[in-house]
Symmetry: C2
Subunit: 299 residues, 2 copies
C-alpha cells in the first residue's frame, strides 16, 4: 500500500514513497533529462524503478506550471518545455489500471502536504506562497485545494499588483513575482549598486550583517511580498500564510518579512497577518503528490 | 416549511419568505429604525409578524459587515452601529428552539443565492462583487461559501490595491473601494470638474451620451474595478465574476466595465475574465439568507 510521489522540476526530479503519516522514504533525486518527451520517458523510468522494488498502489506527479488534476492536462510548464500536454494520457498506458495516477501543480500539492502534515494546527485553511526564482502558490480552503475552473487556482505569482509596471514573462505587466522573488531581489540589489553576478543569498547575508544598501533591497522585496500576502488574506481570510521556496524559507529573509508584515493589517477585521515558514521543506511537493494520489478520483 | 430571509441594511430592512426554488414571496421593506439595540428590537418585531402569519421554520438574517455565521457575532456593521454584537445570542431567546436561525454577511448570502438560483450555469464557483457606495463581495468555491477564519472571507472591498494611496474609512489606505465604487465615481467626476452635488447616475448618463469628461471618469472607475476583479480571478480562477449593487448592476456602467475588461487577461492561463451582471437583483440577500437558514448547523 505504498504511494509514490514525484516532484518534477526543471533541473531535477525528486521522488519518494510516502506513508499515511506523511513521512517520506526511499527518496531519490535525478537531474531532469532535458525537456519535452524526454522528461515523460524519464518519469516513466523512475516510476518503473520504484514499482520493481516496492508495491506501489498509487502515483502522484507534480509539475511547476498550470495543470488541471481533473483532466491531467498540463496547460503550460515552461521549465519542462510542455504546453497542452496530456500528461495523464501519456502515462496512463504505461501503468497497470490498478495503480491510481494523479497529476497536479507542485505548489498546490505542497500546500496540501502542509495542510495535512505540516503540524500547523490552524484549522482547515491556509495559503502557501513559494518564493524562489519566481512565486508559486497553493490555497487550501475548508480542507480542500482550490482548483479553479482551469486548474490555476492559487497560482498567485501573476497577481497584477502593479498594472502597467514591470514586464513579466507571462506577457502581462506588474505581476507580483516581478517585485517579490529571488529574481526581484537580484534586480533590487543591482539597482542599488551590487554586481550583476551577486547571488540573492549574498545580498541576504550582507543585509543581515548590517549593510544598509543590501538591507534596503531586501526590505523592498519583503514589502512587496507582504503586499501580495495582504491581498490574499483580504480575499480568503486564511488562518495562516506559509512561506516556502528558496528565498521564502531562508531564515535570513524572515526578519525582513516580519518587519514588513508588522506594519500591515488586513481589514476587515483589522488583524495581524499570520505568516509562518512552511515546515515540510523541499519534500513538500513529493509528499503532497503521493498523498493526493491516494484519494484521486481520476484513474 | 417556510424559510424567512431578512436583509438588514443601514437604511432599510427587506424581508420575505423564500421557496425551495429561490422564489421570494410576501416581500416587505421597512425603514431601518436608527441603530444599535433599536434595530435588534425591530428585527425581532418583523420576525414575529411573519411568524404570526406563516409557518416559519427557519430565519436567515444578513447584515452589511463582518459577521461570522459559525458564532453569530457581528464584529462590525458600521451602518447599523454594531460592534462585537452577539446577534445570534440576542435573537435566539426570542424564538422557539424549533426555528433555526442563521446570521451572515449580506454579500456572502447574495453570492450563495446567485450560485444556487442565479441561473448562471457555470459550475460551482463564483465571485460576486457588489458595487454600490462601497464594495462588498462574496465567494463561492466548490459549492461552498468561503468564510475564512474570522468570517471575513470574500469581503473584498478593502483589498489593498494601492498601498499608501487614498485613505479609507477602515483605517488603511489604497483600498479597492476607494477607487472603484459609487463614491469613487463621484470623486472622479468632481476631480474632472462636475459639481459636487451631481449623483453618480447623472455622470453615467452623461458618459453614455458621449460627454468625454464624464466618460473619462467612468472609465477610470471601471478600470480600477477590473483591476481588482483580475486580482480575484488570479487567486481563485473562478468560472464567473458577477457584478451586483447599485453601480455594479447599472446597465449604463456595463459597457465601460467590458471595455476595461477586454484589455485585461488573467495569467496563468491567459483567458478572458468572465464578468456578468448578477441576476437576482436587490432580493439576492433575502433569498440567500433564507436559503442558508434551511441548512444552518447553528441553532
Amino acid at each position: 500500500m505504498s504511494a509514490l510521489g514525484l516532484d518534477v522540476g526543471g533541473t531535477k526530479i525528486a521522488a519518494g514513497l510516502v506513508g499515511l503519516d506523511g513521512s517520506a522514504a526511499e527518496v531519490t533525486t535525478t537531474p531532469t533529462a532535458g525537456s519535452g518527451q524526454a522528461v515523460v520517458d524519464q518519469i516513466t523510468g523512475i516510476i518503473d524503478e520504484y514499482r520493481t522494488a516496492h508495491p506501489v498502489t498509487s502515483v502522484g506527479l507534480v509539475v511547476p506550471g498550470g495543470v488541471d488534476p481533473r483532466t491531467g492536462v498540463v496547460a503550460a510548464a515552461s521549465n519542462l518545455g510542455w504546453r497542452d500536454l496530456d500528461l495523464l494520457g501519456a502515462l496512463r498506458p504505461r501503468l497497470p489500471p490498478s495503480v491510481a495516477l494523479h497529476v497536479d501543480n507542485d505548489a498546490s500539492a505542497a500546500a496540501w502536504a502542509e495542510h495535512r502534515f505540516g503540524g500547523h494546527g490552524q484549522g482547515d485553511s491556509l495559503v502557501l506562497v513559494t518564493v524562489g526564482t519566481g512565486i508559486g502558490g497553493g490555497v487550501v480552503v475548508d480542507g480542500r485545494v482550490v482548483r479553479g475552473v482551469s486548474g490555476a487556482g492559487g497560482e498567485v505569482g501573476h497577481l497584477p499588483l502593479h498594472p502597467g509596471g514591470r514586464a513579466c514573462e507571462c506577457g502581462s505587466s506588474g505581476c507580483w513575482e516581478q517585485y517579490a522573488s529571488g529574481r526581484a531581489l537580484h534586480r533590487a540589489a543591482q539597482v542599488a549598486g551590487w554586481y550583476t553576478e551577486t547571488a540573492g543569498r549574498d545580498v541576504l547575508r550582507a543585509a543581515s550583517a548590517g549593510d544598509v544598501v543590501a538591507a534596503a533591497a531586501v526590505a523592498e522585496v519583503a514589502t512587496h511580498l507582504v503586499h501580495g500576502i495582504v491581498v490574499l488574506t483580504a480575499v480568503l481570510d486564511s488562518a495562516l500564510v506559509l512561506l516556502g521556496g528558496g528565498l521564502g524559507s531562508d531564515p535570513l529573509f524572515q526578519p525582513f518579512v516580519h518587519a514588513a508584515a508588522s506594519a500591515a493589517t488586513v481589514t476587515p477585521p483589522r488583524r495581524r497577518i499570520p505568516i509562518r515558514p512552511a515546515s515540510l521543506g523541499v519534500l513538500a511537493g513529493v509528499i503532497g503528490a503521493a498523498d493526493l494520489s491516494r484519494t484521486t478520483t481520476r484513474r
